[in-house]
Symmetry: C2
Subunit: 483 residues, 2 copies
């Protein structure tokens, strides 16, 4: 019983210590586990099931756009990694190196993939000869490894799970189109499925991916006002193609370099779900991504007919396509309520002898605690509608929060004060110079999150000036401290 109590013990309040709150939730909702492997994490069933749902839905959306899945080796020979200069500079310092195979030292040591651009280039150089071989629109689901020094579950760990898409195209236009297309796939997925509003934008040169011509990003705002980069899509132009010699004979019979893109999303998203939606009682999962959508909790479950009713309600819900569980453990109802709340399952149904007498049951929303009484005969319909409502409301609340925490600053004092005192995004004009970006980071620990896509970021009204140096502005930038 000591262990039971611990499980539902109140967790640190979000507003008292956000970092500790996060750690508590991850642990008490049993999303991750400890391991003797420093800097790595164990995805326990509750955590991994969230990733499985993300994967299934994202994969479906990828395939609708013509993506094909492949799997490439997890090891990259150093000689291969070294081919593209910017790329190797970006990744070699945090690579883990395999130097022995069995008892034999390797001549060309290999790193565990930190990302697989070089392997895809190696494959494409062999497989692409003609315009008929294009486009290649490949993706892989795998784990990657980066030797990070400080780590936090989901947000930063040495090994993490992700997908990485890698494409090759005949023209620069087509590559740019695919880069932006995938960013929108990401943004729509995060907004529709995870109920997290995002800013769609482009990274500044300072923040873009090692080896890319352009990096697009979606940026989300966490409850503590810090930003989380939640997915990126890169246009490589023909830089990698030139380094790796990926050429094709075009329709006009001339030899051309392909244009490439890559795009990725990771298990960080689980961190985003926790930090956007969670509250002081634990996790709050959007219905679409929640492994269990409804928990049926029998009240006085040993009374005649109660457990049967609970199970038949669960059966009705299952038939309606709802992911449901009955908690028939020997815990008290109060314990079960707290447990369901901590695990963040969107809806619970309470059913006891009195309810059965009246032919009703009580549904309780995780997000608002609102109680709804439904006739047992219509419970599946009621639950279905409520799940849709919860999904919608969670997005709207997160969006309202994000909007309330998005500020503007036109002079540097206001900018610095806002960053310091009002955690959130600050929208401010920028001259386009790296020096100002560096100064802002030094002064405030805020980084340029992105230049929003479309007019907002790029069509600058006459007379606007850089928030840092006062020279004419070229871009509007979302700034913020970030994970």
């Amino acid at each position: 019983m000591a262990k039971d109590k611990k499980l539902v013990e109140s967790i640190t309040s979000r507003d008292v210590d956000f970092a500790q709150w996060y750690t508590d939730v991850v642990k008490k909702a049993e999303l991750t586990g400890y391991t003797s492997v420093k800097g790595c994490m164990v995805f326990k069933p509750a955590g991994y099931a969230i990733w499985e749902n993300i994967q299934t839905e994202l994969d479906r959306r990828f395939k609708e756009t013509g993506v094909q899945n492949v799997y490439l080796p997890m090891l990259i020979p150093e000689s291969l990694l070294n081919i593209e200069k910017d790329h190797v500079e970006g990744f070699a310092p945090e690579a883990a190196w395999v130097t022995m195979g069995g008892n034999t030292p390797l001549q060309d040591r290999m790193c565990i993939r930190p990302t697989s651009e070089t392997l895809f280039c190696d494959l494409y150089a062999k497989d692409i000869q003609s315009y008929r071989d294009l486009p290649k629109v490949y993706n892989q689901w795998c784990s990657v490894l980066r030797w990070e020094k400080t780590t936090r579950p989901f947000l930063r760990s040495r090994e993490f799970l992700w997908q990485e898409g890698h494409t090759a195209h005949a023209t620069a236009e087509e590559a740019e189109e695919r880069t932006q297309q995938m960013l929108h796939v990401y943004a729509d997925f995060v907004e529709d499925f995870l109920a997290i509003p995002v800013v769609r934008g482009r990274k500044t040169d300072k923040e873009k991916f090692a080896g890319a011509e352009a990096t697009y990003t979606i940026e989300a705002l966490m409850h503590d006002g810090q930003a989380l980069q939640s997915g990126t899509s890169h246009n490589f132009g023909d830089g990698f193609a030139k380094a790796f010699g990926i050429q094709f004979t075009d329709r006009d019979n001339t030899l051309k370099y392909v244009h490439q893109t890559s795009w990725g999303m990771t298990t960080r998203l689980i961190g985003a779900i926790i930090m956007v939606h969670g509250d002081d009682d634990g996790l709050v999962l959007p219905p679409k991504v929640s492994p269990t959508q409804v928990v049926v909790i029998p009240i006085r479950q040993n009374a005649e007919g109660v457990l049967d009713s609970a199970c038949s309600i669960a059966d009705e819900l299952k038939k309606a396509g709802i992911r449901v569980k009955v908690d028939d453990s020997d815990r008290s109802p109060g314990w079960k309520f707290a447990d369901q709340e901590m695990r963040g399952f969107p809806l619970r149904i309470e059913i006891g002898p009195k309810d059965i007498e009246q032919g009703t049951c009580v549904l309780v929303r995780r997000d608002t605690r609102e109680k709804i009484t439904s006739s047992i005969s219509e419970v599946a319909e009621t639950a279905g509608k409520l799940l849709d409502e919860i999904q919608r409301d969670m997005f709207e609340r997160a969006k309202a929060f994000r909007d309330e925490h998005t500020y503007e600053a036109s002079d540097y004092d206001t900018f610095r004060n806002t960053i310091e005192e009002k955690p959130g995004f600050v929208k401010a004009y920028w001259c386009g110079d790296r020096a100002c970006e560096d100064k802002i980071k030094d002064d405030t620990r805020a980084t340029s999150r992105c230049i929003p896509m479309g007019d907002e970021g790029n069509l600058i009204p006459e007379g606007r000036t850089c928030v840092c140096c006062g020279r004419p502005a070229k871009k509007l930038v979302y700034w913020g401290r970030a994970y």
Copy 2:
């Protein structure tokens, strides 16, 4: 066009050179690709899509038995690998060692997981305290690495994809039950879904897994008469639990060790599909696992209405839940037929101006080449029935082949001759001594594949003697040369 021709060029005949036939099929059906990473393979879209279908179906079957998915680190510190003696002896010699993280040498070097028993034990030692924490029935889908010297696509490669289940139970009986249960899940899956008949059996002590008390296996027979171990399930007893200190307080308030199992299936299965079902025209995929089940091929596709008809047939099939593609490329119909045959898609539909006039189309089975004419209005129903028939027939043919190539031998001369001259399984009695197993392997290159489960392997009629030494027999064994 040179490239097109090569694609449908005839491949080496199975009966002339089986190994070359296999290589040709893998290459021409574009299942795998080349890579600069020695001993590793690229799973191209056609190969990976088969694995995705295997994964989805197997995962569904696992979850029906209460399996939960997790993900553990890909790295194992050497100190952790060293804890269980038999296990480290089995795996350390073929491990790949990470000795540098970034620019820093590691104090405790780490190997890339060759299998994850030690990591699961590490987790279970922390997570299991009480009988209430049991059973743990975890599984992970991942890649593993073993530093093999000679490799072949799917059959043996340094890195391969698999699932590994790891369970912990309160009693020895429950562990044994789970071990056998998962073997039957494997066997049923391989027979139902991949149309490959298997022998369900137990490994001899010589052939069992490093650290296991008992290993169960399913053994399939390839077209060249060699066996392929297609899935294994291990009972560890409490050996790992004692080595790792995995104890729990039972209901009777005493401290006990858990009993553990593990079980795995790999991308080898794709090799089995190729070698059981393939023929001289290429791959032949069982409908249930085939990424594309039907290819609609328009004849004279530029004639009015032909492409429309092809697409509307495909739409009907899609509505019926059939995975279908229209080949509307600018190749000739003959090229498309050969291409569909080589890729092994189970059914093609030919539709041209004459067919449309008559309101019919022609369906051609990949496995038998049989042509069936159907009215266009009933094409989805006809195709659905044919796919079921093909699946059934492929299993029956493979079973008949296996049975025809399963021999018996009661004396050593017959045994040796059979192994040499009649590739297949040889059933023969065995005294139970390792010395006879070793001698048989030395003399014939055949190994004990398994002792069939149930009476056949274990209830030995009076007076039967070991095929090798002539002493009284204790078991019946399936012997054979194997991949």
